[in-house]
Protein backbone atom coordinates (compact mmCIF):
# COMPACT_ATOMS: atom_id res chain seq x y z
CA UNK A 1 0.00 0.00 0.00
CA UNK A 2 1.20 3.51 -0.84
CA UNK A 3 1.51 5.52 2.38
CA UNK A 4 0.88 8.84 0.69
CA UNK A 5 -2.84 9.42 0.24
CA UNK A 6 -4.03 10.27 -3.23
CA UNK A 7 -6.96 12.44 -4.19
CA UNK A 8 -9.28 12.02 -7.16
CA UNK A 9 -10.04 15.26 -8.95
CA UNK A 10 -12.37 15.77 -11.87
CA UNK A 11 -10.56 17.69 -14.63
CA UNK A 12 -13.07 19.71 -16.66
CA UNK A 13 -10.55 21.48 -18.82
CA UNK A 14 -10.26 20.62 -22.51
CA UNK A 15 -7.50 23.06 -23.38
CA UNK A 16 -4.61 21.23 -25.07
CA UNK A 17 -2.37 24.16 -24.14
CA UNK A 18 -2.75 23.37 -20.45
CA UNK A 19 -3.08 19.60 -20.56
CA UNK A 20 0.60 18.91 -19.98
CA UNK A 21 0.91 21.39 -17.11
CA UNK A 22 -2.19 19.97 -15.47
CA UNK A 23 -0.93 16.42 -15.82
CA UNK A 24 2.39 17.43 -14.28
CA UNK A 25 0.79 19.12 -11.31
CA UNK A 26 -1.48 16.13 -10.77
CA UNK A 27 1.49 13.76 -10.84
CA UNK A 28 3.50 15.97 -8.49
CA UNK A 29 0.66 16.21 -5.97
CA UNK A 30 -0.67 12.63 -5.88
CA UNK A 31 -3.80 13.76 -7.68
CA UNK A 32 -5.64 11.27 -9.83
CA UNK A 33 -7.11 13.37 -12.63
CA UNK A 34 -10.35 12.04 -14.10
CA UNK A 35 -11.60 13.27 -17.46
CA UNK A 36 -15.21 12.88 -18.46
CA UNK A 37 -17.36 13.46 -21.52
CA UNK A 38 -19.72 16.38 -21.02
CA UNK A 39 -22.82 14.28 -21.53
CA UNK A 40 -21.75 11.97 -18.69
CA UNK A 41 -20.67 14.65 -16.25
CA UNK A 42 -23.65 14.48 -13.92
CA UNK A 43 -23.70 10.69 -13.74
CA UNK A 44 -19.96 10.65 -13.04
CA UNK A 45 -20.43 13.22 -10.29
CA UNK A 46 -23.13 11.10 -8.75
CA UNK A 47 -21.25 7.81 -9.00
CA UNK A 48 -17.70 8.94 -8.15
CA UNK A 49 -18.41 9.80 -4.58
CA UNK A 50 -14.77 9.78 -3.52
CA UNK A 51 -13.75 12.95 -5.34
CA UNK A 52 -11.64 15.65 -3.75
CA UNK A 53 -12.12 18.66 -6.03
CA UNK A 54 -13.02 19.90 -9.51
CA UNK A 55 -10.44 21.56 -11.75
CA UNK A 56 -12.64 23.61 -14.05
CA UNK A 57 -11.91 25.91 -16.98
CA UNK A 58 -14.00 28.99 -17.66
CA UNK A 59 -14.28 28.00 -21.34
CA UNK A 60 -15.23 24.38 -20.61
CA UNK A 61 -18.85 24.91 -21.63
CA UNK A 62 -17.94 26.64 -24.88
CA UNK A 63 -19.35 29.97 -23.73
CA UNK A 64 -19.33 31.91 -20.48
CA UNK A 65 -23.03 31.24 -20.00
CA UNK A 66 -22.73 27.51 -20.67
CA UNK A 67 -19.72 27.22 -18.34
CA UNK A 68 -21.60 29.04 -15.62
CA UNK A 69 -24.55 26.72 -16.04
CA UNK A 70 -22.29 23.66 -15.70
CA UNK A 71 -20.60 25.06 -12.59
CA UNK A 72 -23.98 25.69 -10.99
CA UNK A 73 -25.13 22.16 -11.82
CA UNK A 74 -21.96 20.68 -10.34
CA UNK A 75 -22.46 22.65 -7.18
CA UNK A 76 -26.09 21.58 -6.96
CA UNK A 77 -25.15 17.90 -7.18
CA UNK A 78 -21.93 17.99 -5.12
CA UNK A 79 -21.88 21.18 -3.04
CA UNK A 80 -19.05 19.90 -0.83
CA UNK A 81 -16.53 19.74 -3.70
CA UNK A 82 -14.27 22.77 -4.12
CA UNK A 83 -14.35 24.03 -7.71
CA UNK A 84 -11.08 25.66 -8.75
CA UNK A 85 -11.46 27.56 -12.00
CA UNK A 86 -8.82 28.38 -14.60
CA UNK A 87 -9.48 31.86 -15.98
CA UNK A 88 -8.31 33.16 -19.35
CA UNK A 89 -7.04 36.58 -18.27
CA UNK A 90 -6.72 37.07 -14.51
CA UNK A 91 -6.86 34.89 -11.42
CA UNK A 92 -9.97 36.48 -10.01
CA UNK A 93 -13.62 35.70 -9.44
CA UNK A 94 -14.56 39.37 -9.17
CA UNK A 95 -15.83 39.82 -12.73
CA UNK A 96 -18.09 36.77 -12.58
CA UNK A 97 -21.80 36.89 -11.80
CA UNK A 98 -22.68 36.57 -8.13
CA UNK A 99 -24.39 33.21 -8.68
CA UNK A 100 -21.18 31.77 -10.09
CA UNK A 101 -18.87 33.39 -7.54
CA UNK A 102 -20.89 31.66 -4.87
CA UNK A 103 -20.13 28.16 -6.17
CA UNK A 104 -16.44 28.62 -7.04
CA UNK A 105 -13.77 28.54 -4.38
CA UNK A 106 -10.79 30.08 -6.20
CA UNK A 107 -9.31 31.02 -9.57
CA UNK A 108 -5.91 30.66 -11.24
CA UNK A 109 -4.46 31.32 -14.67
CA UNK A 110 -2.58 28.83 -16.82
CA UNK A 111 0.57 30.94 -16.74
CA UNK A 112 0.79 30.72 -12.95
CA UNK A 113 0.74 27.08 -11.92
CA UNK A 114 2.41 28.00 -8.62
CA UNK A 115 -0.90 29.57 -7.68
CA UNK A 116 -2.71 26.35 -8.55
CA UNK A 117 -0.19 24.53 -6.35
CA UNK A 118 -1.13 26.83 -3.47
CA UNK A 119 -4.81 26.23 -4.09
CA UNK A 120 -4.29 22.45 -4.09
CA UNK A 121 -2.51 22.72 -0.76
CA UNK A 122 -5.23 24.99 0.58
CA UNK A 123 -8.36 23.25 -0.66
CA UNK A 124 -7.39 19.61 -1.19
CA UNK A 125 -4.49 18.74 1.11
CA UNK A 126 -5.35 21.21 3.83
CA UNK A 127 -4.71 18.55 6.46
CA UNK A 128 -1.40 16.75 6.34
CA UNK A 129 -1.49 13.13 7.45
CA UNK A 130 1.82 11.69 8.73
CA UNK A 131 2.97 8.63 6.78
CA UNK A 132 3.39 6.65 10.01
CA UNK A 133 -0.26 7.32 10.85
CA UNK A 134 -1.51 6.30 7.42
CA UNK A 135 0.63 3.16 7.39
CA UNK A 136 -0.29 2.32 10.97
CA UNK A 137 -4.03 2.66 10.43
CA UNK A 138 -3.88 0.28 7.49
CA UNK A 139 -1.78 -2.23 9.45
CA UNK A 140 -4.07 -2.09 12.47
CA UNK A 141 -7.21 -2.50 10.41
CA UNK A 142 -5.85 -5.28 8.23
CA UNK A 143 -4.82 -7.18 11.38
CA UNK A 144 -8.25 -6.75 12.94
CA UNK A 145 -10.05 -7.80 9.76
CA UNK A 146 -7.77 -10.79 9.25
CA UNK A 147 -8.52 -11.84 12.83
CA UNK A 148 -12.26 -11.53 12.38
CA UNK A 149 -12.42 -13.12 8.93
CA UNK A 150 -9.79 -15.82 9.12
CA UNK A 151 -10.64 -17.49 5.83
CA UNK A 152 -10.64 -14.34 3.72
CA UNK A 153 -7.83 -12.38 2.09
CA UNK A 154 -7.64 -8.74 3.18
CA UNK A 155 -6.25 -6.02 0.94
CA UNK A 156 -6.11 -2.26 1.32
CA UNK A 157 -6.25 0.22 -1.56
CA UNK A 158 -4.08 3.33 -1.58
CA UNK A 159 -5.74 5.74 0.88
CA UNK A 160 -7.53 8.75 -0.51
CA UNK A 161 -8.40 12.25 0.56
CA UNK A 162 -12.11 12.86 0.09
CA UNK A 163 -14.41 15.82 0.49
CA UNK A 164 -17.77 14.17 0.22
CA UNK A 165 -20.18 13.87 3.13
CA UNK A 166 -22.19 11.10 1.53
CA UNK A 167 -23.27 8.00 3.39
CA UNK A 168 -22.91 5.54 0.56
CA UNK A 169 -23.26 2.21 2.28
CA UNK A 170 -26.12 0.58 4.12
CA UNK A 171 -24.63 0.42 7.58
CA UNK A 172 -22.02 2.55 9.26
CA UNK A 173 -20.44 2.95 12.67
CA UNK A 174 -18.89 5.99 14.32
CA UNK A 175 -16.52 6.18 17.25
CA UNK A 176 -14.84 9.28 18.69
CA UNK A 177 -11.04 9.55 18.63
CA UNK A 178 -9.54 11.66 21.39
CA UNK A 179 -5.89 12.51 21.98
CA UNK A 180 -3.60 15.44 22.50
CA UNK A 181 -2.97 15.55 18.72
CA UNK A 182 -6.38 14.78 17.28
CA UNK A 183 -10.07 14.91 18.04
CA UNK A 184 -12.61 13.53 15.64
CA UNK A 185 -14.25 10.34 14.50
CA UNK A 186 -13.59 7.09 12.78
CA UNK A 187 -16.38 5.86 10.54
CA UNK A 188 -16.75 2.39 9.03
CA UNK A 189 -19.20 1.73 6.23
CA UNK A 190 -20.25 -1.43 4.48
CA UNK A 191 -23.09 -3.29 2.82
CA UNK A 192 -25.37 -5.51 4.85
CA UNK A 193 -26.01 -8.55 2.68
CA UNK A 194 -22.39 -9.52 1.93
CA UNK A 195 -21.61 -9.45 5.64
CA UNK A 196 -24.73 -11.45 6.45
CA UNK A 197 -23.58 -13.95 3.87
CA UNK A 198 -20.26 -14.17 5.66
CA UNK A 199 -21.92 -14.67 9.03
CA UNK A 200 -24.41 -17.24 7.86
CA UNK A 201 -23.17 -19.19 4.87
CA UNK A 202 -26.21 -21.48 5.02
CA UNK A 203 -28.67 -18.62 4.69
CA UNK A 204 -30.91 -19.04 1.63
CA UNK A 205 -30.22 -16.35 -0.96
CA UNK A 206 -33.77 -14.99 -0.83
CA UNK A 207 -34.01 -14.77 2.94
CA UNK A 208 -33.24 -11.76 5.04
CA UNK A 209 -30.81 -12.35 7.87
CA UNK A 210 -30.76 -10.61 11.20
CA UNK A 211 -29.33 -7.16 10.56
CA UNK A 212 -28.44 -6.88 14.23
CA UNK A 213 -25.67 -9.40 13.61
CA UNK A 214 -24.14 -7.00 11.10
CA UNK A 215 -24.53 -4.11 13.52
CA UNK A 216 -22.81 -6.05 16.26
CA UNK A 217 -19.97 -7.27 14.06
CA UNK A 218 -19.32 -3.82 12.62
CA UNK A 219 -19.42 -2.42 16.14
CA UNK A 220 -16.89 -4.93 17.39
CA UNK A 221 -14.56 -4.37 14.43
CA UNK A 222 -14.82 -0.64 15.15
CA UNK A 223 -14.04 -1.29 18.81
CA UNK A 224 -11.00 -3.43 18.03
CA UNK A 225 -9.57 -0.87 15.59
CA UNK A 226 -10.26 1.93 18.08
CA UNK A 227 -8.45 0.03 20.83
CA UNK A 228 -5.43 -0.66 18.64
CA UNK A 229 -5.40 2.96 17.44
CA UNK A 230 -5.31 4.15 21.05
CA UNK A 231 -2.61 1.68 22.03
CA UNK A 232 -0.42 2.61 19.07
CA UNK A 233 -0.99 6.33 18.61
CA UNK A 234 -2.50 7.75 21.75
CA UNK A 235 -1.27 6.02 24.90
CA UNK A 236 -2.69 6.33 28.37
CA UNK A 237 -1.09 9.65 29.26
CA UNK A 238 -2.52 11.46 26.27
CA UNK A 239 -5.82 9.63 26.03
CA UNK A 240 -7.84 12.56 27.19
CA UNK A 241 -7.50 15.98 25.68
CA UNK A 242 -8.27 19.09 27.63
CA UNK A 243 -10.79 20.30 25.11
CA UNK A 244 -14.45 19.64 25.66
CA UNK A 245 -15.56 21.36 22.48
CA UNK A 246 -18.20 19.46 20.56
CA UNK A 247 -20.17 20.22 17.42
CA UNK A 248 -23.41 18.58 16.36
CA UNK A 249 -23.26 15.82 13.77
CA UNK A 250 -26.10 16.13 11.32
CA UNK A 251 -27.39 13.10 9.43
CA UNK A 252 -29.79 13.75 6.56
CA UNK A 253 -31.35 10.39 5.75
CA UNK A 254 -33.19 11.68 2.71
CA UNK A 255 -29.99 12.72 0.99
CA UNK A 256 -27.76 10.09 2.66
CA UNK A 257 -25.56 12.89 3.93
CA UNK A 258 -23.60 13.30 7.14
CA UNK A 259 -22.04 16.55 8.28
CA UNK A 260 -19.33 16.78 10.91
CA UNK A 261 -19.56 20.53 11.01
CA UNK A 262 -16.36 21.13 9.08
CA UNK A 263 -15.18 21.35 5.50
CA UNK A 264 -11.96 19.51 6.35
CA UNK A 265 -11.01 16.73 3.94
CA UNK A 266 -11.33 13.20 5.27
CA UNK A 267 -8.76 10.40 5.19
CA UNK A 268 -10.35 7.37 3.52
CA UNK A 269 -9.27 3.73 3.30
CA UNK A 270 -10.97 0.97 1.38
CA UNK A 271 -10.40 -2.66 2.39
CA UNK A 272 -11.50 -5.64 0.37
CA UNK A 273 -12.24 -8.97 2.00
CA UNK A 274 -12.25 -11.69 -0.59
CA UNK A 275 -12.41 -15.39 -1.15
CA UNK A 276 -11.18 -15.93 -4.69
CA UNK A 277 -12.20 -19.59 -4.77
CA UNK A 278 -15.78 -18.72 -3.89
CA UNK A 279 -15.77 -15.62 -6.08
CA UNK A 280 -16.82 -13.56 -3.11
CA UNK A 281 -15.74 -10.13 -1.92
CA UNK A 282 -16.98 -7.37 0.35
CA UNK A 283 -15.66 -3.84 0.73
CA UNK A 284 -15.25 -1.98 3.98
CA UNK A 285 -14.77 1.79 3.87
CA UNK A 286 -12.99 3.52 6.73
CA UNK A 287 -12.86 7.26 7.19
CA UNK A 288 -11.09 9.51 9.64
CA UNK A 289 -12.67 12.89 10.24
CA UNK A 290 -10.60 15.10 12.51
CA UNK A 291 -13.22 17.78 12.82
CA UNK A 292 -12.55 19.04 16.34
CA UNK A 293 -8.77 19.20 16.55
CA UNK A 294 -5.80 18.32 14.35
CA UNK A 295 -2.16 18.86 15.38
CA UNK A 296 -0.03 16.44 13.36
CA UNK A 297 3.11 18.11 14.73
CA UNK A 298 2.30 16.47 18.08
CA UNK A 299 1.64 13.05 16.54
CA UNK A 300 3.90 10.19 17.54
CA UNK A 301 3.71 6.44 17.75
CA UNK A 302 3.95 4.90 21.20
CA UNK A 303 7.58 3.81 21.34
CA UNK A 304 7.23 0.96 23.80
CA UNK A 305 4.50 -0.74 21.80
CA UNK A 306 6.70 -3.83 21.47
CA UNK A 307 6.76 -4.16 25.22
CA UNK A 308 3.02 -4.37 25.39
CA UNK A 309 1.32 -7.68 25.91
CA UNK A 310 0.54 -9.30 22.59
CA UNK A 311 -3.12 -9.12 21.61
CA UNK A 312 -5.03 -12.20 22.65
CA UNK A 313 -2.51 -13.36 25.25
CA UNK A 314 -3.42 -13.60 28.90
CA UNK A 315 -1.37 -11.45 31.28
CA UNK A 316 -1.77 -13.01 34.69
CA UNK A 317 -1.48 -10.94 37.85
Amino acid sequence: MNEKPVCKVLVLDDSPDHAEALKRICDDNHLVGLKVRKNRLMSVLRSNIDLGAILFADDYGGSAEASAEIALKIHAVRPELPIIIRRQRAATLDDLPESMRRVLCAAYVGSDMALLQQLIDQYIFSLEYPNALVRGIAEITETVLAGQFRNLAVTCDTPTIVRDRIIFSEVFSLIPLESNWCRGYMMLQSEEDPILDLLDEDRPADSSGDFRLVNSLLGEITNLIWGSFRNRFVGAAAASSNSHVQVPLVVNHKHKYISFGTENPQLCFCYTLSDEDAGFSVKLYQRFIFNLSWSPEDFKEIEDIDEMVESGELELF
Binding site: V144, G147, Q148, R212, L213, S216, L217, G219, E220, N223, L224, W226, G227, S228, R230, N231, G235, A236, A239, M308, V309, E310, S311, G312, E313, L314, E315, L316, F317
Partner: protein, 121 residues
Protein backbone atom coordinates in the same frame (compact mmCIF):
# COMPACT_ATOMS: atom_id res chain seq x y z
CA UNK B 1 -25.31 -24.05 37.30
CA UNK B 2 -23.13 -21.71 35.27
CA UNK B 3 -19.49 -21.55 36.20
CA UNK B 4 -18.29 -18.80 33.89
CA UNK B 5 -19.97 -15.46 33.22
CA UNK B 6 -19.05 -13.61 30.01
CA UNK B 7 -19.83 -9.89 30.29
CA UNK B 8 -19.60 -7.85 27.07
CA UNK B 9 -21.90 -5.36 25.38
CA UNK B 10 -20.97 -6.78 21.97
CA UNK B 11 -23.11 -9.78 21.05
CA UNK B 12 -20.39 -10.74 18.58
CA UNK B 13 -17.88 -11.11 21.43
CA UNK B 14 -20.39 -12.75 23.79
CA UNK B 15 -21.29 -15.31 21.16
CA UNK B 16 -17.69 -15.94 20.21
CA UNK B 17 -16.36 -16.37 23.75
CA UNK B 18 -19.37 -18.20 25.18
CA UNK B 19 -19.59 -20.41 22.11
CA UNK B 20 -15.94 -21.36 22.37
CA UNK B 21 -16.15 -22.16 26.07
CA UNK B 22 -19.35 -24.16 25.69
CA UNK B 23 -17.81 -26.11 22.84
CA UNK B 24 -15.08 -27.13 25.26
CA UNK B 25 -17.52 -28.36 27.87
CA UNK B 26 -17.70 -25.37 30.19
CA UNK B 27 -20.90 -23.97 31.67
CA UNK B 28 -21.36 -20.39 30.52
CA UNK B 29 -23.78 -17.55 31.18
CA UNK B 30 -23.68 -14.10 29.59
CA UNK B 31 -24.41 -10.51 30.58
CA UNK B 32 -24.76 -7.48 28.32
CA UNK B 33 -23.06 -4.84 30.50
CA UNK B 34 -21.61 -4.24 33.96
CA UNK B 35 -24.98 -3.65 35.55
CA UNK B 36 -26.36 -6.89 34.15
CA UNK B 37 -23.15 -8.68 35.13
CA UNK B 38 -23.35 -7.44 38.71
CA UNK B 39 -26.94 -8.67 38.98
CA UNK B 40 -25.99 -12.09 37.62
CA UNK B 41 -23.03 -12.46 39.96
CA UNK B 42 -25.33 -11.57 42.84
CA UNK B 43 -27.97 -14.07 41.70
CA UNK B 44 -25.65 -16.99 41.04
CA UNK B 45 -23.30 -17.95 43.85
CA UNK B 46 -22.04 -20.86 41.75
CA UNK B 47 -20.11 -18.60 39.39
CA UNK B 48 -16.39 -19.18 39.60
CA UNK B 49 -15.01 -16.98 36.83
CA UNK B 50 -16.07 -13.72 35.19
CA UNK B 51 -14.64 -12.79 31.78
CA UNK B 52 -15.39 -9.11 31.49
CA UNK B 53 -15.02 -6.25 28.99
CA UNK B 54 -14.01 -2.79 30.28
CA UNK B 55 -15.80 -0.29 28.04
CA UNK B 56 -19.52 -0.96 28.29
CA UNK B 57 -22.65 1.16 28.59
CA UNK B 58 -24.54 1.57 31.88
CA UNK B 59 -21.68 0.26 33.99
CA UNK B 60 -18.08 -0.34 32.90
CA UNK B 61 -16.28 -3.56 33.68
CA UNK B 62 -13.85 -2.24 36.28
CA UNK B 63 -16.64 -0.58 38.23
CA UNK B 64 -18.55 -3.85 38.10
CA UNK B 65 -15.59 -5.76 39.56
CA UNK B 66 -15.17 -3.17 42.32
CA UNK B 67 -18.83 -3.53 43.19
CA UNK B 68 -18.59 -7.33 43.18
CA UNK B 69 -15.80 -7.05 45.74
CA UNK B 70 -17.29 -4.14 47.70
CA UNK B 71 -21.08 -4.18 47.57
CA UNK B 72 -21.46 -7.94 47.17
CA UNK B 73 -18.49 -8.77 49.38
CA UNK B 74 -17.53 -11.51 46.92
CA UNK B 75 -13.77 -11.89 47.13
CA UNK B 76 -13.74 -15.45 45.86
CA UNK B 77 -14.88 -15.10 42.29
CA UNK B 78 -12.07 -14.95 39.72
CA UNK B 79 -12.10 -12.16 37.14
CA UNK B 80 -10.28 -11.87 33.81
CA UNK B 81 -10.66 -8.65 31.82
CA UNK B 82 -11.06 -9.07 28.04
CA UNK B 83 -10.76 -5.65 26.46
CA UNK B 84 -9.21 -3.42 23.82
CA UNK B 85 -7.76 -1.33 26.67
CA UNK B 86 -4.14 -1.85 27.66
CA UNK B 87 -3.34 1.19 29.75
CA UNK B 88 -1.19 0.52 32.84
CA UNK B 89 -3.49 2.74 34.91
CA UNK B 90 -6.49 0.60 34.11
CA UNK B 91 -4.59 -2.58 34.82
CA UNK B 92 -3.51 -1.18 38.17
CA UNK B 93 -7.11 -0.38 38.97
CA UNK B 94 -8.03 -3.94 38.03
CA UNK B 95 -5.25 -5.37 40.18
CA UNK B 96 -6.42 -3.29 43.11
CA UNK B 97 -9.84 -4.85 42.66
CA UNK B 98 -8.29 -8.30 42.69
CA UNK B 99 -8.63 -9.35 39.08
CA UNK B 100 -6.60 -12.36 38.04
CA UNK B 101 -5.60 -11.37 34.54
CA UNK B 102 -5.91 -9.14 31.52
CA UNK B 103 -6.39 -10.04 27.85
CA UNK B 104 -6.13 -7.47 25.09
CA UNK B 105 -8.69 -8.37 22.42
CA UNK B 106 -9.10 -10.21 20.14
CA UNK B 107 -10.02 -13.38 22.03
CA UNK B 108 -7.81 -16.33 21.19
CA UNK B 109 -9.54 -19.16 22.99
CA UNK B 110 -7.00 -21.93 22.58
CA UNK B 111 -4.33 -19.79 24.26
CA UNK B 112 -6.33 -19.30 27.45
CA UNK B 113 -8.58 -22.35 27.68
CA UNK B 114 -6.57 -24.25 30.28
CA UNK B 115 -6.22 -21.19 32.51
CA UNK B 116 -9.95 -20.56 32.25
CA UNK B 117 -10.62 -24.18 33.23
CA UNK B 118 -8.44 -23.84 36.34
CA UNK B 119 -9.99 -20.54 37.37
CA UNK B 120 -13.50 -21.93 36.83
CA UNK B 121 -12.78 -25.18 38.65
Amino acid sequence: MAKILVVDDSSTVRDEVAGFLKKHGLDVATAVDGKDGLAKVKADPGLKLVVCDVNMPNMDGLTMVEKVRGELGNAAINVIMLTTESSPAMKERGKAAGIKGWIVKPFKGEAVLETFRKLAG
